[in-house]
Amino acid sequence: MDDKARQTIADLALAGLTLAGAVILFIGAVSLPPPRFEPLGSAALPRILGGLLVVFALIVAVGAIMRHRSSDPIVQEDKTGPKADPKRGALVFVALIAYVFALDVLSVPFLVATPLFVIAMGMAIIGISWRGLISFAVLGLVLAIFISTVLERLLYIRIG
């Protein structure tokens, strides 16, 4: 897929999601009471913003379609830097979700979950190696002890 097609799809997706957001605002505004003590009322801003979102979404969508049909090339981004690897970003995201899920839903202790998360994140970014595993485990443990001490002893907050 070339850059032009990718940008068109991104813009159309943005327009679609924005329209969905506008619909949610309109639905939410329907259940709000009419103004009683003041002229504007609680539902006015959701309706105004919903209307604006519809207008902007349509402009973005029409612009994307027109750009896709035209023969003009799109402005190329600077691609001289190192190439991005979306898989690594996705792995980091999965590790983050698993970490919060472990703390929140599974009630895994903070001192256990944090070193495991740091190891998982490190391995996701630099790859699997024994040296990396040990250094990330140490980093995670030190970090977990430091943060839990600050939270529990100084701020009286218990986590995990």
Partner: protein
């Protein structure tokens, strides 16, 4: 003001300012990490501080964060912050010629001068501007907020429509929760978790820190061409001839910083272009020319002082970082605006005092430690990102001791990433989120006062002026294009 300096010189506040400035320099020096991200991450820690200490720490981080950007801009042509992009134009060629130490010395000196000059404007103009803003009523405030939002959306990088879309989306995300005017739930769809709305901190941390870490973790960093400074930083008597250039850059930076939406990067660019236009040797710019570094660095640092003026006098953020600072004040039940000088003078003058001292601390830290700070970029980024993510999770959790905030933070991280992928700027989105409640409150108050009569705005000259400026800001790109097309046609005909 003297009391503010006395409070600042207390040991704990000076320690916080020192830590904030040092942290800011380190974070600013690391490409990809920004002052906004650092301030958003530190915000949960300030909950338990007194407001003066909290503001002192955050101002130190802000000044350090912007200044630290010059290190990697000069050594690696990789600006640590967007404000330092223009510094790469001449700073990096100087480093390539073996003059890295000289470029760093000039950059640091220019940053400090820019900071001090803009402090003069901040200290001199703020109290009188605040007194003037006391005349403003709800109409003026509503149109001022509208103007700031529109300017920010239109002037941010990329498409104007996407900037406006980002601001509107940000405003929409601020709607759920209890409507404070009538005390009724709005857009919560029966969810108890949404009754208090989306928290400012999870939104800020998610939109900036999480989205940035997810993006950066996918991109490896190449530091193979970095040349570390090896000698002391040289400064000479002949550098006194740079004073007019330093002052010019500082004044340009301060006045550009005053305008909402125009950040340090534009200030640096305008200062650089001005310097090039009036120079007798314009061809030397971009080849490692000392005045280029001076123009960029004096202006980008001065823009901070300029941006703080509307923040403390009117409660209007000029950029994302100021929006976060407004959040910090709100957390401590302080409303930035003209009444801040009356209700909490220790905070208003505390910000002004902290800004000056942070610049002096920045000079000392950068001058003495730049060689060591530059080494930080060699630390493994994977470990750094893991540490930041753990801080993001614990920081969001600590706000209400609730994991709902952590999930909200992750959600806004994904939204931030999605918006950036679709080239919707994050600045208007976040500032829309921050300013939406103020805009709605002021509009509702205005209409209540005028019995629902919108025409009342025609009797308010300042409100009309702000509204006109907002309309001109939106219309200007197409007007400018038409004028330029007409000029080209006239030239072709001739």
């Amino acid at each position: 003001m003297a009391d503010a300096f006395l409070a600042l010189f207390a040991l704990d506040n000076m320690m916080l300012l020192f830590i904030g400035t040092a942290l800011g320099i380190v974070v600013g020096a690391i490409p990809g990490l920004t002052a906004s991200m650092l301030i958003a991450l530190t915000l949960p820690l300030t909950f338990h501080m007194d407001p003066v200490s909290a503001v002192t720490l955050l101002i130190g981080e802000y000044v350090g964060g912007i200044s630290g950007g010059l290190i990697m801009a000069i050594l690696l042509r990789m600006p640590g912050t967007p404000s330092s992009i223009v510094t790469t134009f001449d700073g990096y060629p100087m480093a390539q010629k073996g003059l890295a130490e000289r470029a760093l010395a000039l950059g640091i000196m220019a940053s400090v001068v820019g900071g001090i000059v803009s402090w003069g404007f901040l200290a001199g103009m703020s109290p009188s501007l605040a007194r003037f803003a006391l005349q403003f009523g709800p109409w003026e405030y509503f149109t001022l907020v509208l103007m700031a939002l529109v300017m920010l959306a239109v002037l941010s990088q990329g498409s104007m429509i996407k900037g406006l879309l980002g601001a509107t989306l940000g405003m929409a995300f601020a709607l759920p929760g209890i409507d404070s005017s009538i005390g009724q739930a709005r857009l919560t769809f029966g969810s108890d978790a949404l009754l208090s709305g989306f928290g400012l901190l999870p939104v800020l941390i998610g939109a900036f820190a999480i989205s940035q870490i997810l993006r950066d973790s996918a991109t490896p960093q190449d530091i193979s061409n970095m040349k570390l400074p090896s000698r002391h930083l040289p400064i000479y008597r002949r550098d006194l001839s740079y004073i007019p250039r330093l002052l010019r850059g500082s004044v340009i930076g301060t006045w550009i910083g005053l305008l909402p939406g125009i950040g340090g990067n534009i200030a640096a660019l305008v200062s650089y272009s001005t310097e090039k236009q009036i120079s007798r040797e314009p061809e030397k710019f971009g080849t490692g020319y000392e005045p280029g570094v001076i123009a960029a660095e004096s202006a980008n640092n001065a823009s901070i002082g300029g941006a703080l003026i509307p923040l403390i006098t009117m409660g209007i953020p000029g950029s994302v970082t100021e929006a976060i600072l407004i959040g910090a004040l709100t957390i401590h039940n302080l409303q930035p605006g003209p009444l801040l000088f009356h209700n909490a003078p220790e905070i208003a003058y505390g910000i002004i005092a902290a800004y000056l001292v942070a610049n002096v601390l920045m000079l000392m830290l950068m001058w003495g430690l730049v060689r060591y700070i530059a080494q930080i970029v060699r630390l493994p980024r994977s470990g750094l990102m893991a540490v930041i993510l753990v801080f993001c999770v614990t920081g969001s959790y600590a706000v209400n001791s609730s994991f709902v905030d952590v999930w909200v933070m992750i959600g806004f991280g994904v939204i931030g990433l999605g918006l950036e992928y679709c080239k919707v700027p994050l600045g208007p989105f976040v500032i829309g989120f921050v300013l939406s409640p103020i805009a709605e409150e002021q509009l509702r108050a205005s209409l209540m006062m005028s019995d629902g009569n919108l025409a009342e705005i025609l009797t308010r000259p300042y409100a009309l002026l702000f509204l006109a400026l907002a309309v001109i800001t939106v219309a200007w790109p197409s007007i400018a294009k038409r004028l330029s097309d007409r000029k080209t046609t006239a030239k072709d005909t001739a």
